[in-house]
């Protein structure tokens, strides 16, 4: 019989904690997903706006980026959840306020990623597209962006992990996420060490999951532009087992030992 990791029948502290932590983990995942979608949906247009040849458009993008990068997510969260109702009389749902704050904040960082990736596409590509009389929109859509996409993935991976971890701030406005549930368990007497260890583990698993997904996407994107994916040369370099050289054998004082046998250490056979 298999027991679900969220089961209350797990032994000791685990049985006590896991049902609550699982509930919190779902909320954390939802917030991460919502925040990611929003952040990416913001990053793409704002990143492109930041490169517009119209000064006013650039200015709007810059103001947004600087403002949301330059202020704390937590404070933004307070504004959206506590201060907004006072100013506008409109109370946001707390999960929604959380997702909004995360999306806006990480979207600002993401815009910078998009801008950098688009600028890194070689000038020759843009010029070839002009020479073929593509419209500015088609240039971006069919030539530049598909090539820029692959460059966005590794920094986006970082941002999404940042976003995952930042969801723990939602516990401050009493969203019942993973961190909130963990704190609650500890306050009601569960073993601190085990609960906090579980929190670490779950956050880590989620962030690793994000990395795996992004690696997969990167591999697909790389193949589309005919390049090696993340499994390409740089990684293979440290992954492949180094050929074991019988280095130590040189160090062995070879006076006593017949020289013919010295190099034959296990690795060399």
């Amino acid at each position: 019989m298999t027991i679900s990791p969220c089961s209350a029948e797990l032994p000791g502290t685990f049985g006590e904690a896991m049902p609550f932590l699982c509930k919190g983990a779902v909320i954390t995942l939802q917030a991460t997903l919502g925040g990611s979608v929003l952040a990416i949906a913001i990053a793409l247009p704002v990143g492109l706006m930041a490169m517009s040849h119209r000064g006013a458009v650039r200015a709007v993008a810059r103001v947004y980026m600087e403002f949301f990068r330059g202020t704390s997510v937590l404070v933004q969260l307070f504004w959206l959840y506590y201060a907004m109702p006072i100013l506008t009389g409109f109370q946001l749902d707390k999960s929604f306020a959380g997702i909004l704050a995360l999306g806006l904040n990480l979207g600002a960082y993401g815009s910078e990623v998009v801008r950098g990736a688009v600028r890194s596409v070689s000038r020759g590509q843009r010029e070839a597209a002009i020479a073929l009389n593509f419209s500015p929109y088609h240039r971006m859509r069919y030539v530049i962006l598909p090539q820029a996409f692959i460059g966005m993935i590794p920094p986006m991976n970082n941002l999404l992990i940042e976003l995952l971890k930042a969801t723990s701030l939602l516990s401050v406005i009493t969203v019942a996420d993973l961190t909130y549930q963990g704190r609650l368990l500890v306050n009601s007497g569960s073993d601190q060490l085990i609960v906090f260890a579980l929190l670490l583990l779950i956050y880590f698993l989620f962030s690793y999951l994000i990395t795996l997904i992004m690696r997969f996407v990167e591999g697909r994107a790389a193949r589309m532009v005919g390049r090696d994916g993340p499994q390409g040369r740089p990684r293979r370099a440290w992954r492949s087992p180094r050929p074991r050289r019988p280095v130590p054998s040189v160090e062995i004082p070879s006076v006593e030992i017949p020289s013919a046998e010295t190099p034959s250490v296990e690795g060399a056979r």
Partner: protein, 253 residues
Amino acid sequence: MIRFDKVVKRFGDLTVLRELDFHVRPGERVTLIGPSGSGKTTILRLLMTLERVTSGTIDVDGQCLSHMKRGDRLVPADERHLRRIRKKIGMVFQQFNLFPNMNVLRNITEAPVRSLGVPREQAEEKARELLEMVGLADKALEHPSRLSGGQQQRVAIARALAMEPEVLLLDEVTSALDPELVSGVQDLLRDIAHRGDLTLLCVTHEMRFAKDISHRVLMFDQGRIVEDGPPEQIFSEPAHQRTREFLQAVLDA
């Protein structure tokens, strides 16, 4: 077809073209030669609207490249005006610049489909004919990165021709190729050139090739035309000391 009138191009403090005047007739094939930095490539880039003139005007088919009429006034050209003129001009680059996110066939069909509105099937049919012509019919579904430099450049030529330009600009198209691949590309261009009707502007350091394809050779130095004449004359009895020196240096290399 193409007229340069007192064209000046400066990059910062550097003056690349100094009051340049010249004229290319429809169907004429002109080769631009001269030391590097003499402004040859800049001329092609200005025509392709990759750069803007500092002063002076360029006309293509009677239309001004940099300005357009709005009412009675001349205003800087907008994107639509530029695209109308670009339609007549194609360019092949030294570095090929094939799109790595598309296979060979898509590289050729994408522009006709997106910017001319040709139906995809028709564009593909045309592309396959062009690939046949450049000798790469079997590479249609290959990825550009799997082709040799020479093959990539031939695809780039097919891609430019798919837009049916009236003027084709060749910017040192064999300079980035391994020596043994140069002749294949040159033979192809020779065929295309001798088919007629295309107006050709070609920047090259391959003097034999220049001689084969062009009606006229312009020798540039320091942003000016030093000598202008048929290839036979320029290559066998150049009138100017500067041309003689240049040809000497190129032929010795």
